[in-house]
């Protein structure tokens, strides 16, 4: 058993944790602006810039805000869907729904985001359809709204699956007991099913929240002016400005946010539903 576990744990420790440590350490270094070399002087300058420049606060808050909005949207969409699939639908419909949820994951992430870019464009499918049914047109392409829509779509399966599993796991006997004691359908849902599904929602929210928090491709492709995420600043700091230490400092922000979120999710019992 130990022999079997050795390679994965070595992989985890060496590649994953060591990379994280290297990240944190380099956040305290600086780049020589003239030569582009990294200077190994310990300094808080990067964190000072992060805290003193209002633009980075705006970007961090935008990232967290949209991640939260996406999580709420996906939870609202996933709950009725998962309830229907797990409790109401026939076995056959249920397995068809299962495939339908997972089907988008078979195609490339990029393809799906580009598809949305075409759908939301001014002369795109959405406006064409709205125009056909006489509703005029909307102007959502390349905006924060577009990012919210695309993120909600992309990460929805990651919310549906754990919620589905949680609702499926609610024992039939509890629902019968609830009905025996005179609870109506809605009351049973609110008092029995929902509390038992909460760990599933919390588990799903970890996925949707963290995946949105760390993304930079969707903001690049469907975001507009003023749609930068933390990931975009990190990407530009490394790829354009060659300032790895600053990128590392900013990358620490989502790590801290996620740690806080995971502690919160654990209290909701998210890890029991995984």
């Amino acid at each position: 058993m130990g022999l079997l576990l050795a390679p994965p744990s070595a992989w985890f420790v060496v590649l994953y944790l060591a990379a994280l440590v290297a990240l944190f350490v380099s956040a305290f270094w600086q780049v020589d602006e003239f030569t582009g070399n990294i200077v190994h002087n310990w300094t808080f300058a990067n964190f000072h810039t992060l805290l003193s420049e209002p633009i980075y606060r705006t970007i961090a808050l935008r990232t967290i805000g949209i991640a939260a909005a996406v999580t709420l949207t996906d939870a609202a969409l996933a709950l009725p869907f998962a309830y229907y699939a797990a409790r109401v639908a026939s076995r056959r419909t249920s397995s068809m729904l299962f495939v339908a949820v997972l089907l988008p994951l078979w195609s490339s992430y990029l393809v799906r985001v580009y598809a949305w870019r075409l759908i939301l464009a001014k002369d795109g499918v959405l406006n064409w359809a709205l125009d056909k049914i006489g509703l005029g047109s909307v102007n959502v392409a390349y905006s924060n709204t577009a990012m919210w829509i695309v993120f909600s779509y992309i990460w929805l399966p990651f919310m549906i699956m754990p919620v589905w599993a949680a609702i499926e796991r609610v024992p039939e006997s509890l629902l019968e007991a609830s009905a025996d004691m005179g609870a109506k359908g809605w009351q049973t849902f609110r008092r029995v099913t929902l509390p038992l599904a909460l760990p599933g929602l919390a588990a799903g929210s970890i996925f949707t929240f963290s995946l949105t928090l760390g993304d930079f491709i969707t903001p690049t492709l469907v975001g507009g002016a003023g749609s930068d995420f933390i990931g975009n600043v990190v990407y530009r700091s490394v790829g354009v400005a060659n300032d790895v230490p600053f990128a590392a400092a900013f990358a620490a922000v989502p790590v801290i946010v996620m740690t806080a979120y995971l502690l919160f999710a654990r209290r909701l019992g998210a890890f029991e539903a995984l």
Binding site: L15, Y16, L23, G36, N37, A121, T220, V240, V244, A248
Partner: protein, 387 residues
Amino acid sequence: MRQMHVAMALAALMLVVSACGSSNSGGGGGGSASNLPTSIGKGEGTLNVIAWEGYTQPQWVKPFEQQTGCQVHAKYGGSSDEMVTLMRQGGGSQYDLVSASGDASLRLIRGGNVAPVNVNLIPGWKDFIPQLQSPSHNTVGGKHYGVSLQWGPNTLLYDTKDFPTPPTSWSVIYSPKYKGQITVPDNPIQIADAALYLMKTQPSLGIKDPYQLTQAQLDAATNLLKQQRPLIKKYWALASDEIDLFKNGDAVVGASWPYQTITLQADKVGVKDTIPQEGATGWADTWMLSAHAQHPNCAYEWMKWISTPKVQAQQAISFGESPANTKACPIMDKIQKGACAQYHANAPAAYFNSIHFWKTPTKDCATQNNNCTDYTEWQQKWTEIKG
């Protein structure tokens, strides 16, 4: 999910690798003039280049590969900053050549990332327009750090449906009238475009050169760009982004390169471009040889090939820019009637001098008593503007 983890681990790993790489890079410096090659040896079979989108078209890459056996692998750089970074990462040996613009070339020379080139091995060089044989942006202390390529102005691109009469001023990209339909490059050097506009419209600011700005002048340009931000649909990073925006009707006017105009017109999209009355910024590009090039012979072959009149003519017409080689003019006319005059291949020196070519802003500047803002400040301002 597993894929996600792998991707994340890879990204983290790359961060570490690039951190190690960049701490070793630079400093090496290009060798002294005495050990310049005197002939081009046998090709290494591969050539890795960083290029502007549109600079490595099959039209002239394919014949090059057949003739020399050097397979060309190109990576597009979206901005001069990105090109400089790519040349410095991983010890600088990953790429052999870079098509650097004037705002990147001096940074690369000073950082020791590029090596001197023996221009006598490039026959086309003798036929270059005099301004581009030894320009200050790629020739330092008599050493040539690469060969000039092409040059041209940044243009104002517009949709002919929305502009039945061509716009004559850059003011349209700062006008609330086109709110949500404007696109400009995602590039700190865009501040120079704003400065050029202010230089002509607000002479009281005292701007003499759009790349030499005092703190007050930089603040004025930043203000103009901050007012522009709510009007912007998207800051484009790659030429293909801007092409998509115009194709799908999301943008009707924007700052552009001639390449986008030509690509869009070939797709039957109703667009045209113009150089407004305030004048234009522009670029003069150089193929520069990496100080740590792994395939120097193929790199020399490429510089030789790209400087021949025929390839110069092909690229000029394909991208919509002006060739450095004066002998390209008659070939351009043969490929496409009137192309030589259209792309200014035979334009007088006055036209060349009217373009404000990209250069790196530095503290030392002649027009403002060496009291200018440097490029780092420009980058910070750009982050503030974009938000």
